[in-house]
């Protein structure tokens, strides 16, 4: 598998503080990488740096061996998409209008959306089970519906690499599985490379083929779910006692939390 994203000795953050300090990571094509770590470990910052929202202070990020800071932004966004956690929007666009915005990286400034663009948008709405909502205004939707719409928009960009920051936080368990199943399917069938921040360690375990555990701005441990999700690693980073057994259905590690108080 070719390496899609190379992160070499990355440093960056907000103002004077460098949240990420000397982080190195490779993402291969076809990876489903789960990014986990305690609050403040730099997961969101890492994604912001990788999607050009924050400037790189030290090190470099290469996409197919090209420095992302030197790429044309629209060209970059045709390859890389991002689903953010925050799904609130100010103005009340319709669902279709929002998902169509995912086509912007493919459109020149003055270009109107073509029939093909609308078809693509519709297809992505179907994939995320939101086609029936296409004419509804975004503020009429529930948080879960909004989150699926945002995923649809990112998919409409037809990226090669998709970053997601807690894409299932507002979804009920049924929709969680549905969304992640979809992403896994796209990952397998369409070779969509996925990098996803997840708080739920078991979701990460079930769907990712690789996991990166972040702590204090660097990678604490990286590898397969079995390699990373050991009780030693988790306790060292999360500072809490857990029990790790096997999920009888998936065969992957299952992290069980141990309450301090009963």
């Amino acid at each position: 598998m070719s390496v899609l994203l190379k992160i070499n000795n990355l440093s960056g953050g907000y103002y004077k503080e460098d949240v990420i300090r000397g982080l190195s990571l490779n993402v291969s094509q076809g990876d489903f990488l789960g990014v986990i770590g305690p609050n403040g470990s730099g997961k969101t910052t890492l994604l912001r740096l990788a999607t050009r929202v924050l400037p790189v202070k030290g090190g470099e990020i290469l996409y197919k061996d090209k420095n992302i800071a030197r790429m044309n932004l629209k060209e970059f966004c045709r390859k890389v998409a991002f689903v953010s956690q925050d799904v609130s929007t100010g103005f009340s666009f319709t669902v279709m209008e929002l998902v169509l915005m995912g086509r912007i990286p493919h459109l020149k400034r003055l270009q109107y959306e073509t029939r093909k663009d609308i078809e693509i948008a519709r297809e992505k709405l179907k994939l995320t089970d939101t086609l029936s909502l296409q004419d509804k205004r975004i503020d009429e939707l529930s948080a879960g519906e909004r989150q699926r719409v945002v995923i649809a928009r990112a998919l409409a960009q037809e990226p090669e690499l998709l970053f997601l920051d807690e894409p299932t936080s507002h979804l009920d368990i049924g929709h969680q599985v549905q969304a992640l199943d979809l992403l896994k399917k796209l990952n397998r069938k369409n070779n969509l490379t996925i990098v996803m921040i997840l708080h739920d360690l078991n979701l990460a375990s079930a769907y990712s083929n690789r996991i990166a555990l972040l702590d204090k701005g660097i990678i604490f441990k990286e590898g397969s779910p079995e390699e990373v999700l050991t009780y030693q690693n988790i306790e060292a980073v999360y500072k809490t006692i857990v029990l790790v057994n096997n999920n009888s259905v998936t065969g992957k590690p299952n992290v069980v939390l141990v309450p301090g108080e009963k």
């Binding site: 929202v53 953010s84 929007t89 100010g90 103005f91």
Partner: protein, 318 residues
């Protein structure tokens, strides 16, 4: 389809407004006689006001749209960045210093430009403009300059006060048609450029980060758009003084009717704002003819209740 229908309706309304604006005025001229040579001057005067109205209405409304998208706040309006008080302060100072009337438009323009520069630089932090800083700086400068204006007026009395009234309430009374022509260039150009950025405005209005993820160079686009709205607003202040509510009400109203997609919003708002201003000007000229009520008063009196009604009824509310 829907856009075409909306545009046609608005175009029709505009034609009606223009015709009314030409027919009615302080002087009562029956329609049949309006085109006679004797009445040509008055006809031209009214035509000039209508042209100014279209310019002012579209310019202010589209500037309002741009600022509302950039700041992601539908309460933003063109004078937010201090242009109005800057122009007013410059004008009042000039009157006190005895500067001749012919330099007033230039003075006002410079005053507006100066306050934008100050607001912009106050809001800039490490080359990045934060939305909240921009709004805050704008408000601070507006308040500061407004108090300076009041201070000057209290010291220097009557003439300064008359001048202040013009800036406060505006007027479509055009004395210098050459100036109107001159101002038309940057305003029309500015409106076209903002329309060119419709795609970017759509993306920016849903979020700073979201826009970056869609390939929009937000920092540079914001700088360009702020500059253009400042140019449009300052140019319009030169010829018409300060006319409030248009840049706030009409965009908001149109957003409730046609939606927030800027590709549709911008052209429809231009037409709607022109109709609004022409009607307001008509009322200002005819309600108590031959006394003219300042147009800013009319836009406020009509604008405020319309706004409240729309807010309560509107399905698309941001």
């Amino acid at each position: 389809m829907r856009l075409k229908r909306n545009l046609l309706i608005l175009l029709l309304l505009l034609c009606i407004a223009v015709i009314l604006g030409l027919l009615k005025g302080a002087v009562n001229i029956p329609a049949a006689n309006l085109l006679l040579k004797d009445n040509q001057v008055i006809f031209n005067l009214r035509l000039l006001r209508i042209i100014a109205g279209v310019l002012v209405g579209s310019g202010l409304a589209v500037s309002g749209i741009a600022l509302q998208a950039i700041l992601r706040n539908s309460l933003a309006e063109p004078y937010l960045l201090g242009t109005s008080s800057g122009a007013g302060l410059a004008a009042v100072s000039a009157v006190i210093l005895g500067v001749s009337r012919i330099y007033m438009p230039l003075v006002a323009f410079l005053g507006a430009a100066l306050s934008i520069i100050i607001v912009y630089n106050l809001a800039r932090e490490r080359g990045v403009i934060a939305d909240k800083s921009l709004i805050l700086s704008g408000v601070i400068i507006s308040v500061a300059f407004s108090s300076l204006i009041v201070f000057l007026v209290s010291l220097f009395g009557n003439e300064a006060m008359h001048e202040m009234n013009w800036w406060l309430w505006g007027s479509l009374q055009i004395y210098d048609y050459k100036l109107l022509l001159l101002v038309a260039f940057p305003v029309i150009l500015g409106i076209c450029v903002i329309y060119l950025f419709a795609q970017d405005l759509n993306a920016i209005s849903i979020g700073e980060e979201e826009a970056i993820h869609l390939g929009i160079d937000t920092q540079n686009i914001k700088k360009i758009l702020i500059l253009i709205t400042a140019l449009i607003t300052a140019s319009l202040i030169c010829i018409c003084g300060i006319i409030g509510f248009v840049g706030l009400i009409v965009p908001h109203m149109m957003r409730l009717i046609v939606g927030p997609n800027h590709k549709i919003l911008i052209p429809t708002t231009c037409l709607a704002a022109s109709v609004f201003i022409i009607i307001c000007d008509l009322l200002s000229r005819t309600l108590f003819a031959p006394v003219e009520i300042p147009i800013g008063v009319i836009t406020a009196i009509i604008g405020a209740p319309v706004f409240i009604i729309l807010l309560k009824k509107g399905k698309r509310i941001s």
